[in-house]
Point group: C2
Chain length 253, copies 2
């Protein structure tokens, strides 16, 4: 059973996972982070010790590597091969950790922000591991955070990660565009909040095709043209055009 | 006071508004729609009479025109000038109804689907009118549906409508892309629901700029390239590229 863990990183994922383990009484022995300020603050909050030097890593039941995809390999090299380890990347293959006897992945399908509280209970957590005993251990650990722990291989997880970026990162950027546009007109962006949230919640019926509304879906090219007239930002115009064109052709078919 | 209304149309907006008025004990005397099947069904559900012929329009306290932007003008021509009238379009100017003595607009900022239930209580309803007495009447009517009734002129409303299309219609289309992509990999789209809903709810802090996460925000071009490798659909590739490019430049600045 995994009782004591260490976490490498102090960014969005490291912070949110740490808080969540701490809340659920999993002891975090140590935070390891090159960022002294963020790392020390995080360690203090969850009553862990702190080091900037990976060579000072304490042996625990599990080390969770929460760093950028590019850094995982270098960091893994510095960890003793008998120390069980997982990374949290949606896109990086499990084999990047293959030198460790017990290695795996814990990837929560969620957009995590350091400063935004979140309830992990229903977040699907994708796990993967190189052997069944270790798989069971990380599964049991993750079940303390979420009721929805699912096994996917690295290829499947990459597709999930891509889909997550499309739905979450790109949608959020559309919110940003709308906010900037309304701001220029001195109109409060919060008018759109019920619409944004309802549009997201509608996906519970798993049918975005039926849920689609709006001028492009109706084939209303006049409104599309007029929207483009009042949308002055050239980059946003391109985005508007491309998405409308795609919606038009999807519903013409 | 507006006690008895008639509604022209039987599409998404007409249907949802009718249900909402009916629930709130506003009498709907008549549904007028060219679509006999949908119109009759709607009228039966809300205990209204039904006609396909606009010339049979009954005089009421208010006629609500819920038809496509292109048809509003022609329909308005056939309504007696002493019959108070509003349209529900986000994008059409109030002046399209100027021949009516009392005319205005009731535009709920929401993506309405005939078959998807919705709570109007917190939906902002934008109103506009050609005179203050009529404005007060439609305001009081709308307050029976929502606590959030706001006055905007036609120009402001157009910008709100544009922003609504960007946040709602375009986001929903991104959900559709993700669903199609996952479907090809035999992965259940519902894995993304908590992510989609959380991303939308985060906008409550009114700060999509801070809420942004993901590879493009981090400037992680390697992951972007690898995502493009596994996203085979050419149209979706273009969308992915354009949005990522825009996020990259937004956060480089």
């Amino acid at each position: 059973m995994i009782k004591k863990i260490s976490i490498i990183g102090s960014g969005n994922v490291a912070t949110r996972l740490s808080y969540e383990f701490f809340k659920n009484n999993i002891q975090i022995a140590q935070i390891i982070s090159r960022n002294k300020k963020h790392g020390q603050l995080l360690a203090d909050t969850i009553q862990a010790s702190f080091t900037t030097n990976i060579n000072n890593l304490k042996l625990t039941d599990l080390t969770i590597i929460c760093v950028s995809d590019d850094s995982i390999k270098d960091i893994a090299k510095k960890i003793p091969t008998n120390q069980p380890v997982v990374h949290t990347s949606g896109f990086t293959d499990i084999t990047i950790l293959k030198k460790q006897e017990n290695h795996g992945v814990i990837y929560p399908i969620q957009s995590l922000n350091k400063d935004i509280d979140i309830n992990f209970q229903e977040i699907p957590i994708c796990i993967e591991s190189n052997n069944n005993i270790f798989k069971k251990k990380i599964k049991n650990l993750c079940l303390k955070l979420s009721i929805n722990v699912v096994y996917f291989n690295s290829t499947e997880r990459k597709h999930i990660h891509l889909a997550a970026v499309i739905t979450s990162n790109f949608s959020n950027f559309l919110y940003l565009i709308a906010q900037k546009h309304l701001h220029q007109q001195n109109i409060d962006f919060s008018l759109l909040l019920p619409l944004i949230i309802h549009t997201a919640k509608k996906t519970k019926n798993k049918n975005p095709f039926t849920n689609q509304t709006g001028p492009a879906k109706r084939g209303d090219k006049k409104v599309i043209k007029k929207h483009l007239d009042i949308l002055k930002n050239k980059d946003y115009k391109k985005i508007y055009k491309l998405l409308s064109k795609n919606i038009l052709t999807t519903y013409e078919k």
